[in-house]
Amino acid sequence: MSVSEAAVGETSPQNRLSEQSRSRLMNIAIPLGTAVALLLTWQLGVRLFNVPKYIAPAPTDILAVFRDEFPLLMRNFWPTFIESLAGFFIGNMAAILIAIAFVHSRLVERAFFPIAVFINTIPILAIAPILVLIFGPGMTAKVVIAALICFFPTLVNMVRGLQSVSPQALELARILSASKSEVFWKIRLPSSLPFLFSALKIAATTCVIGAIVGEWIGANVGLGALIIESTFNFRSPLLYATVFVSSGLSVFLFVSVTIAEKLIIRW
């Protein structure tokens, strides 16, 4: 009996390893299985109750769109991709630079922070038409909207990150007679990176929303334009496919930022 107890209590390293990989497999398998089950239910439900295609297309109908209309989807994907990416870079860059200015000068912060808060309180849907009026129907307005939507969370996080340096680290810098720029490059900026990346992960998904909202208001290409067009033409399978492409774009940007974070932040 004691022998069998010992055998139960003890797990050899190999056992533990396989247990680990099994639990990792389960982590992937469970959500995947759920997704497949939901898709199957969807497919069966739509077919069983004879739901018209324009109200709710079956997953296979949407797959058919991906096969037949792939060039159309891609033609509209690229503009949205470029707008999102450009908005992501411009919005975050501006936020980072302004955060640096805020941290260096309380006066600048006092002058501009209330304005930043005010701009943030305007719903993006309300400001988007104004920007389209100003910048015209081209890509610029969409880039600006995408940039604007990224801006505020990154600004707030970056300011917090730059201020997250421990007082002792600053005393260490003082004892070493470090200059302001040395403190910035060697201590403040690296300390802020974890905060910056958590903001960039938010921005990775919101910049796509910004670009699409911009396209709703006035555009003839882009995923947003395609969403509007397919809605008005009752092309539901195309609408669903476009929505999937949009969320795929968000996921792609999010994963890219996450990978960059893993590579850069090792501490």
Binding site: S166, Q168, A169, E171, L172, A173, R174, I175, L176, S177, A178, S179, E182, K186, I187, P190, L193, I265, R266, W267
Partner: protein, 264 residues
């Protein structure tokens, strides 16, 4: 009379000289009228009730807080001049390592700061790598701080403090957060380092036995306001071994200091 005498000689041969130094935070007097001469090569430990101004005293010496009155000189220089010449180094209670830098890179930090501005940085005889070896971290050069134990991190901090070969080493409860065995080990290591480098050490602790074990002199501060209560000479032989703490002489010193501490 002593004070004016050392003043005239320029007190170059005194590692740290405080003359009636006071520190105030607003209306609150943290340190009042501290006068002390610390000879080069000495190992002083500073003891006192918590909040009596031990850290403030190190911060005064290291030019982090200015004296409200009185003067502080380090090897005959102002604290600012001594700071710019890297004559002293500081070891904090928590290691204060930069978490994104490896152990080696953390030790190299003092050598990087000021280099681009053309400041002459005193470079010690030992390379950062050799210093890590000296503190017993050979082979862990590339480890990040979070991969090291608390004791190891503190040893990296000590190696970093030694990289510019400071003539005065200021340590503020550096082993206060460590377990007893690690602390004993690091105490012995610190005594070895002190002997090898010949640097002057000012070491704040809240442990009576640590203060006796390490110090040649124990500076007892009393609180409200912080002032010198007494300087106790510790006449115990060097090099010191852990077994020293079981000797009657050692325990007599401890008892005496405990008595003084209760009076504070």
């Amino acid at each position: 009379m002593d004070g004016s005498h050392t003043q005239k000689l320029g007190s170059r041969s005194i590692a740290a000289s405080l003359n009636g130094a006071c520190v105030k935070f607003g209306d609150f007097t943290a340190l009042a009228d501290i006068s002390l001469d610390i000879e080069p090569g000495d190992f002083w430990t500073i003891l006192g009730p918590s909040g009596c101004g031990k850290s403030t005293m190190l911060r005064l010496v290291s030019d982090l807080v200015p004296p409200a009155s009185g003067t502080v000189e380090i090897f005959g220089k102002t604290t600012e001049a001594a700071r710019l010449a890297r004559e002293f180094a500081f070891v904090f209670q928590d290691a204060t390592l930069l978490p994104w830098r490896s152990a080696l890179k953390n030790v190299e930090l003092p050598l990087e700061i000021g280099r681009k501005r053309g400041i002459t940085i005193p470079v010690g005889d030992r390379t950062p790598r050799e210093l890590l070896e000296l503190v017993g971290l050979k082979g862990r050069e590339d480890a990040l701080p979070h991969e090291l134990s608390g004791g190891m991190r503190q040893r990296v901090a000590i190696a970093r403090a030694l990289v510019c070969q400071p003539k005065l080493l200021l340590m503020d409860e550096p082993f206060g957060a460590l377990d007893e065995m690690t602390r004993d080990h690091l105490n012995l290591q610190l005594l070895d380092i002190w002997k090898e480098t010949g640097t002057t050490i000012l070491f704040v602790t809240h442990s009576i036995s640590e203060s006796v074990f390490l110090g040649q002199k124990v500076l007892m501060l009393e609180s409200n306001p912080g002032r010198v209560k007494e300087v106790v000479d510790i006449d115990l032989p060097l090099p010191r071994k852990i077994a020293l703490r079981d000797t009657p002489q050692f325990n007599t010193y401890c008892a005496r200091l405990r008595e003084l501490l209760e009076e504070c």
